[in-house]
């Protein structure tokens, strides 16, 4: 049975259900379970649910250690940027050990990181920084865009035997969606074709999925049929689904809230240019944030970010360009 649930509640439900299912799942982080009324603390006790000091290196490093010892920690990091304080643990510890030990060690852990809080949070709490992590071998990266995927990807992340950085978008926090009630697992590494179309492929990541669907609606009125794909995980990246779509449409627009040169869009564009060039009828278009720090003031913030109008514009260019060159 599915029912409406806000995105953030769907994430919480996945953690709660996985903790109930597997005794090895732990949940800890800053400002978590600081009173006895905390529902996680009440359900699972203080061994498995703990507030930590404001010590990201210790939190993430201890998660690595607990994973060595057979547990499956979920670290509550609140803001994705807080991982930067502990970059060695995220990039150069957690994903290295299975490999360096010749497969002796597994490091199943989830780093739950909110990102993209572009609502006046200025330069240091607003980044869409998943591009920094998607190229790290051994690390998986999930970027749910809907409430249902938020639940399903969290469940899959907890069950996965690798470290997963789970990016949830702050602007989607209260966004409701249909969410299955019981066990719901969305496999890591499988993109979703959210809307079918024939003229152009729009790949949209995270928060931009909603914008891309709205753009597709608008474009349909102009007679342009857009296929919309949500990669859902950036590592592993489901390149096959994207290439298949481009083979059909011949055009691709990639919408990503990251700064252009650190974006997942740049990687997807490289894959399409390299592996799908013969299908392309028009240049690949990227709709990303400008290569700038996110400004505080609203008009400037809106200026640097991608949005529905910019996606529509890019699609029109892609279709127009091919109409001319065809």
């Amino acid at each position: 049975m599915a029912r409406q649930l806000p995105y953030i509640a769907a994430i919480g439900e996945a953690i709660q259900q996985e903790m109930a299912r597997y005794e090895t799942v732990l949940y800890f982080g800053q400002n978590l379970a600081t009173t006895e009324n905390d529902p996680f603390l009440q359900a699972f006790g203080s061994d498995r649910v703990r507030v930590t000091p404001i010590s990201e290196t210790a939190e993430i490093g201890m998660a690595v250690g607990a994973a060595f010892a057979g547990y499956r920690p979920v670290v509550e990091l609140y803001m994705a940027e807080f991982m930067l304080v502990a970059m060695d643990q995220v990039v150069n510890e957690a994903p290295r050990f299975h490999y360096m030990t010749g497969g002796q060690v597994k490091v199943p852990l989830v780093l739950k990181a909110g990102y993209g809080f572009t609502a006046g949070w200025a330069g240091q709490h607003t980044g869409s920084i998943y591009g920094m992590f998607m190229g790290v071998p051994g690390l998986k990266v999930a970027v749910p865009a809907t409430a249902a995927d938020a639940k399903g990807l969290m469940a899959a992340s907890i069950r996965d035997d690798n470290p997963v950085v789970y990016f949830h978008h702050y602007l989607l926090t209260l966004e409701p969606g249909e969410v299955p009630e019981g066990e719901h697992v969305v496999p890591l590494g499988e993109a979703a074709v959210v809307r079918e179309g024939s003229d152009v492929t729009i790949v949209a990541i995270g928060w931009l999925l909603g914008k891309a669907l709205a753009a597709a609606q608008q474009l349909a009125a102009e007679g342009i049929s857009a296929e919309v794909i949500d990669p859902r995980t950036l590592a592993p990246l489901d390149t096959a689904t994207i290439l298949q779509s481009v083979e059909k449409t011949g055009r691709i627009v990639i919408a990503d809230q990251s700064t252009r040169h650190g974006s997942a869009a740049a990687v997807i564009a490289a894959e399409v240019a390299s592996e799908g060039f013969s299908s392309l009828k028009a240049p690949i278009r990227l709709v990303t944030a400008l290569d700038a720090t996110i400004p505080y003031s609203q008009p400037m913030e809106e200026y640097v970010l991608p949005d529905e109008a910019k996606i529509v514009d890019a699609v029109q260019q892609a279709v127009g360009a091919s109409a001319v060159s065809a």
């Binding site: 010892a69 150069n92 030990t101 010749g102 497969g103």
Partner: protein, 342 residues
């Protein structure tokens, strides 16, 4: 246990393990001369720290767990790992402990509680702390021994970990092997406690845990402190910081040089950098391995002939390890993509 002290069998076991570590490290070092090119990258030796390693590990029971730094050859030897597999790993062979994926800096033997070795200074300390958290939850009285150097105590990872471990009363014993050098920076050049003439163990005070300093050249002294700390940890009373004073008898590691330049171990930094050969010579005179042997022979715990037999057995064992490593095949190149994901 600390009240009775180790019996003579245990003392002979200590000497045997110290001798095996020394012989293994000698053979690693000799490989640079005898088989140039066989060892790649950067290798760090534990000669001088044998007493500290063996004395600490002697306090553990079989289901306890150990995490260390990239200077990691000594510990698995004591824990029962096959030196052949270790040497083969250092030689990059398929038969290596980690199948050639890790090399000298990342030796791991999960079956023997040697859980994973980070090559980045201090970053294994939170790992050990997390293993301690797991042990606390599991509730079977396991203790974690966490080894690191004096340099690591300048990293945030050290301070963050000790704070949590003390706060949560985790069963972790932090063993800081203070060898006075962070590569070729002397401890008083980078440590406020050392510069003030205080032992580094005072850092424990900031985290409300016991801190002790011990002569890391004496395995029995180390054992006694480690046993107290392990007992305390096992009883749920929380972590201890042990500062074990050792002198590394080789340079920090082999020279860092681009391919084409033959790798080798330079002289110790006291000689090479600081022009203080007398410091090094004094340390050499206090070499813990012959010192402990002499002590056991003098007090009659072991006969000179038996001590010689122990040394010969170690030589034979490590010769086999070298031969095994040299004869072992390399991994297939395409195995390189095998363990990216679990």
């Amino acid at each position: 246990m600390p009240d009775n002290g180790p019996d003579s069998d245990r003392l002979i076991w200590m000497l045997t393990q110290m001798t095996r570590i020394r012989e293994f490290e000698e053979r690693v070092k000799r490989t640079f001369e005898e088989h140039p090119g066989v060892i790649r990258g950067h290798t760090h030796l534990a000669d001088g720290a044998e007493a500290s390693i063996v004395g600490s590990l002697a306090a553990l029971r079989p289901d306890d767990q150990v995490l260390t730094t990239y200077r990691c050859h000594g510990y698995p030897i004591v824990l029962g790992t096959d030196p052949k597999a270790m040497m083969a790993e250092i030689y990059g062979r398929q038969t290596g402990l980690c199948k050639g994926y890790g090399g000298s800096m990342h030796l791991t033997d999960v079956e023997r509680g040697f859980l994973g070795t980070s090559g980045i200074v201090a970053q294994g300390i939170p790992h050990a702390t997390g293993v301690g958290y797991a042990a606390q939850i599991r509730g079977k009285g396991q203790v974690v021994l966490c080894f690191f150097g004096d340099g690591a105590s300048k990293q945030g990872a050290f301070h963050e970990s000790l704070n949590v471990a003390s706060l949560w009363k985790l069963p972790v014993v932090y063993v800081m092997e203070n060898n006075n050098y962070n590569v070729h920076t002397r401890v008083e050049q980078e440590d406020a406690n050392a510069a003030a003439g205080e032992p580094l163990a005072v850092k424990a005070t900031a985290y409300s845990m016991p801190g002790v300093t011990v002569d890391g050249g004496d395995p029995v002294a180390v054992y006694e402190q480690a046993a107290l700390a392990v007992e305390r940890a096992r009883a749920g009373e929380g972590p201890t910081l042990i500062e074990s004073k050792v002198y590394r008898l080789s340079a920090h590691g082999n020279i860092i040089a681009p391919p084409g330049v033959p790798l080798h171990f330079p002289e110790h930094e006291a000689i090479e950098i600081f022009g203080a050969p007398e410091e090094y010579e004094a340390a050499k005179r206090g070499d813990p391995v012959p010192r402990f042997r002499a002590r056991l022979v003098t007090d009659g715990t072991v006969g000179a002939e038996e001590a010689d037999r122990i040394a010969q057995a170690a030589r034979d064992e490590m010769q086999e390890a070298v031969d095994f490593g040299l004869e072992s095949p390399f991994p297939q190149p395409d195995e390189a993509v095998k363990y990216v994901y679990a």
